[in-house]
């Protein structure tokens, strides 16, 4: 019996991670994502960029979305496709992210006076990733979807 290659095989592989909302656990997301990215063939620079972006996204979810609530989870979903890696990070919180905050243009001078230095995190994510989108997660919390393209 002949079976055509890859006809029914999905072109993507999904890894899901649910982390406790405690600072420090973003490291688990970073190591998991970079392990996958390296094996997919992403170069050192892109892997480092991904680590930083995911660290910011998970930290935001812990601090702002879930407000350090130990019972809440940060949901990280990694979708590996032949030519890109999609990373989505969602919190389970009820504190909706102000859409204005998702397109920051932080100035370093502002940070000297502002108490919340958080604007840099989102700015960094946008700088480092190829595509970035802020939406609401199916569960109701905030979700950021980031994509890096695999250059061959």
């Amino acid at each position: 019996m002949t079976s055509p290659n890859n006809e029914n095989e999905p072109a993507e592989r999904i890894i899901e991670l649910r982390l406790p909302s405690r600072l420090g656990y973003e490291k688990v997301a970073m190591d998991t994502a970079s392990s996958l990215a390296r094996r997919m063939g992403f170069g050192g620079d892109r892997v480092e960029a991904l680590r930083t972006a995911i660290a910011e996204a998970v930290t935001n979810a812990i601090e702002h979305g879930n407000e350090h609530d130990a019972d809440m989870r940060v949901l990280v979903m990694l979708t590996a496709r032949p030519d890109e890696l999609v990373v989505s990070v969602a919190d389970q919180g009820r504190k909706q992210l102000d859409q204005q905050k998702t397109t920051p243009t932080p100035k370093i001078e502002d940070s000297f006076t502002k108490r919340d230095k958080g604007g840099w995190g989102i700015w960094l994510i946008r700088e480092l990733m190829d595509e970035v989108e802020f939406t609401t997660a199916p569960s109701g919390g905030n979700q950021v979807r980031m994509v890096i393209h695999l250059e061959r």
Partner: protein, 119 residues
């Protein structure tokens, strides 16, 4: 995508056939490891060194392949040694009984010395 992440190469040094193993040693390593072994044996190697490179991942399927190599080594009256394993994997090799059939050295230099001084 995540399956085959091993590169195997062979070289010779001081009469010892060295098989360098860089990467993961799992079920997917079978063909590469067996070919390398067949190649050096075909070239008449009597001393064979499996030179690991602080590999992060060696699983039981990979070890099964190595047990297969030991079977052939015994059959071909060769002498086998391993080098470059992390402390953890040296422990694993002892656990499965491989240490009885292959001397475990810290590194390549030590292994070469071991082959030449042993009777």
């Amino acid at each position: 995508m995540l399956e085959d992440e091993l590169s195997v190469s062979t070289r010779e040094r001081d009469g010892v056939a060295i098989i360098d193993l860089v990467g993961d040693v799992t079920t997917f390593a079978e063909e590469k490891i067996n070919s390398a072994y067949a190649q050096v044996t075909g070239q008449g190697a009597k001393h064979v060194l499996l030179n690991f490179r602080q590999n992060d991942y060696i699983n039981s399927a990979g070890i099964a392949i190595l047990i297969g190599i030991v079977t052939e080594v015994n059959r071909n009256s060769q002498k086998l040694a391993v080098s470059g394993l992390s402390q953890h994997f040296q422990k694993i090799f002892r656990m499965v009984g491989l240490a009885q059939y292959a001397d475990i050295y810290q590194d390549e230099d030590e292994a070469i010395k071991g082959f030449t001084t042993a009777a």
